[in-house]
């Protein structure tokens, strides 16, 4: 047992005007497991991650790591923030060095450099080693942030929507990168995402988070697809297709339930039909005047 959340509730505000973000959340993450938490925006995913990392503390219940209560954030609980959080005045190397030097205090200068360079190499950022964050693209920043978290050699990797800010192509690249690293180092990983494909592609287990407020974790979906997974062949894998449909349906239902549950009145839309612009005859050029079909 790596990380466990027991009946955890978190909220903000005064007792009279309270906003419950998470309510009675229970989660057990096994050693070396890759767990994805999937949910809509604003459902409290980041709060959940901060709970795991020890940056937020539960109002009720407890968060334990290897059987011990989490009392403060630390390098063992390696969180990778959603918006990179690289220090803008330091280069990629310096950012990672600052982190590594803090954790591995007895490394000599040379060993430290080697250590940092190894992680820069791992996320293939060597060409951007001495550039500052604002000179990097979003994907490169995310890699730098990942390298920094990995360089701490955390016992558990907490990824807070690591790829949500990236374009589709870079995203695919980084997904593979993270998977490779996970397979090589076999760490416990908890990842938050809002992308079903990503969740199915990467994790052993997918835990859906219901809509906020008072969000909680629902029954997990197990992903029984053997690693290494190939994104190109996976599309035809029957299990992959089944899971994708199942989770998507679940999420759509969740969304609809939420809308029904909310007190917001639905607007009646005006009864309009799209016009048919297909020309009846002749060449379909712009010079032709569009006419209504008779």
């Amino acid at each position: 047992m790596s990380v466990e959340l027991k009946d955890v509730s978190v909220g903000f505000g005064t007792p009279s005007n309270r906003y419950e973000v998470l309510k009675d959340v229970n989660l057990k993450v096994e050693e070396n497991e890759f767990v994805s938490i999937i949910g809509f925006s604003g459902s409290g995913k980041s709060t959940l991650m901060n709970l795991l990392a020890g940056l937020v503390f539960p109002d009720k219940g407890e968060v334990t790591f290897k059987g011990e209560k989490v009392k403060a954030a630390g390098p063992k609980l390696g969180i990778m923030f959603q918006n990179y959080s690289l220090l803008p005045w330091l280069t990629t190397y310096e950012n990672i060095e600052l982190a590594a030097a803090q954790v591995f205090k007895d490394l000599s200068k040379k060993e430290l450099t080697e250590h940092v360079d190894r992680y820069i190499e791992m996320v293939s950022l060597t060409p951007a080693r001495d550039r500052k964050p604002h000179e990097l693209s979003g994907g490169m920043r995310q890699r730098a942030s990942l390298a920094r978290t990995l360089s701490l050699q955390p016992e558990i990797l907490i990824l807070d929507e690591p790829l949500s800010a990236l374009d589709a192509l870079t995203r695919g690249d980084l997904q593979e990168e993270i998977l490779n690293i996970w397979e090589a180092e076999r760490k416990t990983v908890v990842m938050v995402t809002n992308d079903v494909d990503e969740a199915v592609l990467m994790s052993n287990r997918i835990v859906p988070l219901t809509m906020g407020p008072s969000a909680t974790l629902d029954t997990p979906f197990a992903v029984d697809i053997e690693y290494p997974r190939n994104r190109h062949t996976l599309n035809d894998h029957p299990e992959y297709k089944r899971l994708k449909t199942e989770i998507t349906t679940y999420l759509i239902n969740l969304n609809q339930e939420d809308k029904k549950g909310s007190s917001m009145d639905s607007y009646s839309m005006p009864d309009v039909m799209p016009k048919n612009f297909t020309p009846i005859s002749g060449r379909p050029t712009l010079r032709n005047k569009f006419t209504q079909p008779h």
Partner: protein
């Protein structure tokens, strides 16, 4: 087409321009590298030529309008007169440096220098004679022309005066005749009174007429042609230079510190021989005393510095050093306090009332308060060890002639420059990105490493923005403080010129105005560059 080395040079130049904030120079540089020439020419004409034309238009307006306004200190000086005043002020500074150099020159250099200057004097005297002759001939010509102009008027005047005189005589005799008749009772007394009244009016009008002509003559006399004045001024200037050269020779010979010291040493040596040969007790006592005092004096004289008069350049240096001292004091207090305020809300709450109340206080009030407080520390500044140390002739800082006035001017600068730096530092520290603090939490950084590795670097851009405002405020306050406290510097220069009231004063004040402005501009630029160098956002790098 693309030339990598050329591009590299171009972009590094553009980067320097960008960091220093002289964005105006961007198009010319691009034009030089033939990048979109049409666009650059358009930009240059819009953002460089038009502003230059505008500035010249302002100067022209000044030239035309200035002389129309007559003041107690003469008419408002034109730009050319201000420029001349600047040249004169600068020449004065050069003269002081030359004299100082002469005073300090030792050994054989002196002889060579004296010869050089004597040759210069000879040349200058030749030129002076020519100029003087020229000036006199111009003056003579002008006088002749003036006299020729005056002559007809003068003739008219004389004629009128003679006429008036004779008529007056006639009127007087008529009056006397009538008076006789009145006495003989052959005429009415009333008749006589009327006649005297009438005659009075007549002579009054004649007097008026004469006066009018006289003013005409005076007007011509009091407005000699401009060339006369200019020639006289040029001759005077050269005479001043000759005077200065003579003074230099004086400083190289009898006024030189080494020569003076040697004279004293010779006296001491003389006393020493006398002491050895004398048989009289009283005489021996006298000679021994002379030996001791002369040796001491000689030593002192040889280490003496030239007593410089305050020139505008020296005043500028002194203002700069004062503002730097004041600004450094402000930084020393504001930055740590600002960091504490930003870190701790209790500290912020404690300091807020103090900041809010003292920030709007006028610099003049601070100056007076510091004058009283600091004055109390130095009841006898001449003998205070601090000033004795700073103004010791062996100390290079003695150049600045530190005194209590300088210290309380610096304190006034410090207290006025404190607030923007303090407020901005507090803002910079308290508005740090919470994500960066989370990083610190994950890394379990201690207080000091959190402070120096995360908080201070992230607040630096705002801190420097505050420091930039502070320096600007400090420079502005300093000039006023110097004027008020008579602490040597540009402010005192302005004040002295105002009190002095010579024909050059007004122009000198305007010179000081430009010097203050230009130095303020460069101080600001320095701060902008520093601010850009510590900024890490995208706008900072090209």
């Amino acid at each position: 087409m693309a030339n990598p080395t050329k591009d590299k040079i171009k972009y590094s130049i553009l980067k320097v321009i960008d960091v220093s904030g002289f964005k105006v120079l961007d198009p010319p540089v691009r034009l030089l590298f033939k990048e979109e020439p049409q666009k650059q020419i358009r930009d240059i004409s819009r953002y460089m030529l038009l502003p230059i034309v505008f500035v010249f238009a302002c100067l022209a307006a000044w030239t035309v309008l200035g002389p129309n306004h007559k003041t107690k200190s003469g008419e408002v000086p034109t730009p050319t007169r201000v420029w001349d005043a600047w040249k004169d002020s600068y020449r004065f500074h050069e003269k002081e440096s030359e004299k100082e150099q002469a005073f300090m020159t030792t050994g054989e250099d002196r002889g060579a220098e004296v010869e050089k200057i004597e040759a210069l004097i000879q040349k200058q005297e030749g030129e002076y004679a020519a100029l003087e002759a020229d000036s006199q001939s111009i003056a003579a010509q002008a006088k002749e022309k003036m006299e020729s102009e005056i002559a007809p008027i003068k003739a008219e005047y004389d004629e009128l005066k003679a006429l008036s005189f004779s008529q007056k005589k006639e009127r007087k005799s008529a009056e006397e005749a009538l008076a006789q008749k009145v006495a003989n009772k052959t005429a009415e007394p009333q008749q006589l009174v009327t006649l005297i009244k009438e005659n009075g009016i007549k002579s009054e009008s004649e007097k008026e007429e004469l006066k009018l002509i006289k003013t005409k003559i005076d007007l011509i006399r009091s407005n000699p042609p401009k060339e006369v004045k200019a020639a006289q001024l040029a001759a005077n200037k050269l005479a001043d230079e000759i005077q200065h050269s003579k003074k230099r020779i004086d400083y190289l010979t009898s006024g030189n510190r080494e020569v003076k010291g040697d004279t004293l040493l010779a006296k001491a040596a003389d006393a020493s021989t006398q002491l050895n040969t004398t048989t009289d007790g009283g005489e021996a006592y006298k000679q021994a005393k002379s030996l001791v005092s002369n040796t001491e004096k000689a030593e002192k004289t040889k280490g003496q510095q030239y007593p410089r008069s305050a020139s505008i350049v020296w005043q500028t240096y002194r203002s700069l050093i004062t503002v730097i001292i004041g600004f450094s004091l402000a930084c020393l207090v504001a930055i740590p306090l600002g960091i504490m305020c930003g870190l701790n809300r209790i500290v912020m709450a404690c300091l807020t009332p103090i900041i809010s109340i003292f920030r709007p206080v006028s610099p003049v009030v601070w100056l007076l308060i510091f004058q009283i407080i600091i004055g109390a520390f130095f009841p006898d500044p001449e003998k205070h060890p601090l000033f004795l140390f700073l103004n010791d002739q062996a100390n290079p800082l003695s150049y600045f002639q530190t005194n209590p006035a300088m210290i309380f001017s610096a304190c006034t600068v410090a207290v006025c420059a404190l607030w923007p730096a303090l407020v901005n530092t507090a803002l910079g520290v308290s508005s740090i990105d919470p994500d960066h603090l989370n990083v610190a939490k994950v890394l379990r950084l201690g207080f000091w490493s959190r402070l120096f590795k995360i908080i201070i670097p992230s607040s630096l851009p705002l801190v420097f923005a505050g420091l930039r405002i502070s320096l600007g405020v400090g420079w502005m306050v300093l000039i006023a403080a110097e004027a008020l406290s008579s602490s040597d510097g540009l402010g005192k220069f302005v004040w002295d010129e105002y009190q002095n009231g010579s024909s050059q004063s007004f122009a000198n004040i305007i010179v000081a105005c430009f010097v203050v402005g230009i130095i303020g501009f460069f101080l600001d630029r320095v701060m902008i560059v520093l601010q850009r160098l510590v900024s890490f956002d995208e706008s900072a790098s090209l």
